[in-house]
Subunit: 175 residues, 4 copies
């Protein structure tokens, strides 16, 4: 498993809506990584589940031009237009942040693996209530998903001391 290149990645922001909660730290990290993705021209795709019930995507994740999709299936690959949006980027690695680790993130990750992509789940930028988060992470690893965390992925994306100048500051952890 080689290091991850940002030129190979597409970032998928899954159901970052008030109805799915998420603690402040998780949300701050997901937002920080989204900001870095934008700076590195990593394409971003956003999904929402029943926004009339769970609310719109939280502030800061969607900018003009960011595609936002309604997701009536728990796994994004069950909704053909979302899967197409991901594969149309021609990126080989999907990076997932959002909610919930053991349901929509899990089912989306497995669907993307089945579609032939490499899948990274950012463990400190996804969440699920209580013990469901840890259970979801274990099952993601068992299913063949690569776990990473914001800091590690960011330093893999920039790769050099000089390149690290692009990292958004301050960060929600020690850079």
């Amino acid at each position: 498993m080689p290091l991850t290149n940002h030129e190979d990645c597409v970032l998928v922001v899954i159901d970052v809506q008030a109805g799915f909660g998420g603690d402040a730290d998780t949300l701050a990290r997901a937002h920080w990584l989204t900001t870095l993705a934008r700076a590195l021209h990593v394409p971003i795709i956003v999904t929402e589940e029943e926004p009339e019930r769970h609310g719109p995507t939280r502030t800061g994740f969607v900018e003009p031009g960011t595609p936002v999709f309604r997701k009536p299936t728990f796994g994004l690959a069950g909704t053909p237009e979302i899967l197409s949006a991901v594969t149309d980027t021609s990126r080989t690695t999907a990076v997932l942040v959002g909610f919930e680790t053991d349901v929509c993130v899990y089912q989306s990750a497995v669907g993307l693996l089945d579609a032939g992509l490499r899948v990274l789940v950012v463990e400190d930028a996804v969440g699920s209530p209580g013990e469901m988060h840890a259970r979801g992470l274990t099952r993601l690893r068992d299913a063949g998903v690569t776990l990473t965390h914001c800091k590690a992925l960011a330093y893999e994306w920039v790769r050099t001391v000089e390149g690290a100048s692009v990292l958004p500051r301050p960060a929600p952890f020690a850079l």
Copy 2:
């Protein structure tokens, strides 16, 4: 490893008897999943160990028509009529709940793997005293069994927001 389809599953309820204890939460989850299996027409098979000593299967797991088998071997595959009952369903995935994680559930799971089935153990619907539960789960994974939990499996079975209306409410965890 693709997502689990309920049409492929058979639920095996192992030794859910007073003599094997089980905390209230584990029992509630096992019962909830059994109720969902019934709603989705997933076939159910029940085993018992020495019912004259350990008591009958607890209330709510057996309904008219549910096959109940005496299991003189710790692993169900050691008793030919139980293994036949499982394979006769023609379901390719066995989902296990019950007691005890590291003995009867473990030996049954390994026997079903040897018989060519995919085996899922529902980690929050199986139990064993003290540290034996966690040890059993680790060994199940090492043996090639897939671990899942009630909430994750339920959402895989229903797959869509619309389909989730079949989930029994209230559930013994946040849906």
Copy 3:
């Protein structure tokens, strides 16, 4: 990985000497399993490291006819006469108990794997000071060793409710 048959096993008792400590529970479990092995005619081989410094093997592990070997190498396979004693039993599965998890047990396990045996380490019947025990267990799994625990192995060895009558009682855990 099928269930373990007692007819395939040889039990290796590694350095169960006062000089290597071991808490009372670990020692009780190692002794209980040794007693069961004897009842099931599983051959037993005992090793000792510098007995003049660390003391003889603790009481209860050696009976008339039990072979005891001095082990000048940390791994038993580094001492040809010990490796021969194991392979001469023609048993395909070596079951290891004793001390220390991350040094002599680890190096012995890897050497036996290299010699073509299946190797089981009984996690609650081996020990090492402080965090070294857990580290050793993790590395054993990573090296291809199967971890098990006394209770689970015992029930695999006896396999049936009827056969369980041979289990020594009382046991140092709930049977």
Copy 4:
């Protein structure tokens, strides 16, 4: 995975500089292992990141003749002269100590795996702030790196009771 021979190893000391912190125990263990490597004639290579900012390598790791390299990339394999220095030793196993577990150690380890070496990371002689250490270790294992710890590696290097006389005493843990 056979036991590790010291004749096959090269020790790489990564960014052991004041700017990267490190608790006293981790530093003592890294230093102890470096001393043992020197006694066993295991070649040692040292890297530094921006020494004008993070300080020079800490006392005790560099002796006359020890090659020290400036590392402008987080992974050492991204700097050709460092990768050449490692491969020029003709040693097949790289042993890594230093900072930070999830960034420079991780990226260096993956780069060395890609270059065809076997890679061992010494888990109690590497560090990263807070939860980043544990996350880094998990990802190293997932990437195909072998984790070990100072005590276990030292006893593998010396292999016999007699050979253990070379171990530096006192050690920062129970020998």
